[in-house]
């Protein structure tokens, strides 16, 4: 009972503020509603007893909004009216992406309705008071079972970082 109340509360906030985020004309307002969406999603993680995911969501995504603000303040010209910077192709790309995601979600829901427990992987619910500590579980699966993918991903991120530094470096001629 309490769980479903909490879930619908956070899910409602997430959906409403996501819609507001897309429809705002001011980019900073969009970013603020993006914060609300991400925080509500973090709340759903907490309701699912995934504490580590909750705080990772807050630190990584909501904290990352700071950088987004900088981009908005420095790069987006708020005084230029929107129709001038919107290209004609954008509408069709957006339609294509929205259709693809919508069809995917529809198929998932349809399969889950049709054959419960077969079309989707639905794990057995664990009793809430006997869950193993979340952080330790995550660390065990990351560093024991999936060490190689984890390391590959981190090397990829390192390459991206070095690439960004090289691109941003001031080019000086040799003396």
């Amino acid at each position: 009972m309490l769980d479903s109340v909490i879930f619908y509360f956070f899910a409602g906030i997430a959906v409403i503020s996501a819609a507001l985020m897309v429809t705002r004309r001011n980019a900073i307002h969009s970013a603020v509603f993006l914060i609300t969406t991400l925080l509500a999603t973090a709340g759903i993680f907490l309701q699912l007893r995934a504490e580590f995911l909750f705080i990772a969501q807050i630190i990584l995504y909501v904290g990352g909004i700071m950088v987004l603000f900088i981009f908005v303040i420095m790069l987006v010209r708020l005084d230029v009216p929107l129709p001038q910077i919107r290209s004609g192709l954008q509408k069709w790309i957006a339609l294509f992406v929205a259709l693809t995601v919508g069809v995917e979600a529809g198929v998932v829901i349809f399969l889950a309705r049709k054959a419960p427990g077969q079309g989707l992987l639905i794990p057995n619910p664990a009793p809430a008071d006997k869950l193993p500590p979340n952080t330790e579980e995550l660390a065990n699966s990351l560093f024991r079972s999936y060490l190689l993918p984890f390391e590959i991903a981190s090397v990829l991120l390192l390459v991206a970082m070095v690439g960004a530094v090289v691109m941003a470096k001031k080019r000086t001629e040799a003396p």
Partner: protein, 452 residues
Amino acid sequence: MNPTLHSILAFVQTWWVELLCAVLIVLVVPLIAGYLALVERKVMADMPARLGPMRVGPPGLLQPIADALKLLIKEDSIPDNADRFIFWLAPVLSVTAALTSMGAVAFGPWFQAARDINIGLLFVVGVSSLGPIGIVLGGWASNNHYSIIGALRSTAQLISYETTAGFALVSGLLLAGTLNVRAIVEAQRTDHAWYIFLAPVGFSTYLIASIAETNRAPFDLPAAASELVAGYMTEYSGFRWSLYFLAEYANMIVVASVGTTLFLGGWLRPFPNVHWLGWLDAAPTLLLAAVGAYCVFRAGKQPARLQSLVMWAVAFSSFVVSAIFVFASPFSHLPLAKMHDGLYGAFWFLLKVSAYIYIFMWLRFALPRFRFEQLMRLGWHILIPLALVNVVGVAIALALHSEFSWNRWLATFFTTLATLGAAMMLLRWNDKYSAAAALLADSSIAEDLHAG
């Protein structure tokens, strides 16, 4: 009985300690913030041997209340071209982040609102790092050049120094082996050491990074009065301004609590395992009794009758409370004994937090402000590499301890020496680099002059 009311009552009956802690945090922290401001003014006055605020209340003790009243009745002005929604939202966001993150701080063995939360320390650090979003939004919404510069500086500073603080915390967490706040403190009891002694470099880097994260001098560039009027809060006045003020002081308490929990042994007394120092357990009671004795001593010398009455009242109540503690401690089965443990823990915890905050104030009045590029160079060229080296050093020490069964103190001593050596090399390289950069800048200026 109504079933809804019944379930609410059952909820309150189960969680009343946590609810009480949450309510206490929200109610008491604004008051503490006001008195921290008074302490700050007193410390500031004491450095050049002045007196500080003396007029309101006996030695200026009612000054925070007068200040709060003044702020509440001040005109609340919003600039014409401000973004009203964001202007309203920004200070609220800062305060909410600061007070929420305090929920997972364990102020004593049982005083913690989010009890035994598995991600304890991460919760405190993560949620309190949302506060600068309020600063950036406020600076942007004010529609003012000084405000936006302050906001951008704050962002750059936070992004640079959060990495250092994170790595410093990792070096302590490696030693503790858990994120749970209570378990961290208990680990320091079983390890027979506060982690400041096992990871001194980690503590120093955390201290510097935490000053920078709370935007305090010498890193107070986002609100540098001599350059930016008041930085991001230039356009704020009255109650909104006091919300930013509250957020700043609450953040100080939060970072001090994190440092205390992880490096200074939380609510443990100094040397918790040394038996001949057991008399330290009586220190809170002795302190209370001493306060009472002082009040009795001074009560006769007060100029007004009311003042001496107040002194007698304070003396009497402190004697009563200390007597309760003296006589309650042997009876461990009483509920009072639990409270007794909690209050003793809270005493040591708050003492350490106060010392940490005193260091903040001391540094504020002792050091001149950094220039922005100095701040960035310190963060990126020295502190982040040093914190990284320190994490590796602590990990090596732990491996030496567990795999090769070295003495823990010996292993950490050697790795700390190695880390300090690395720090020396970093400093030398940095000097060379900055000398070369200065030379380059000079020559380019000269070329520009020549070309122009």
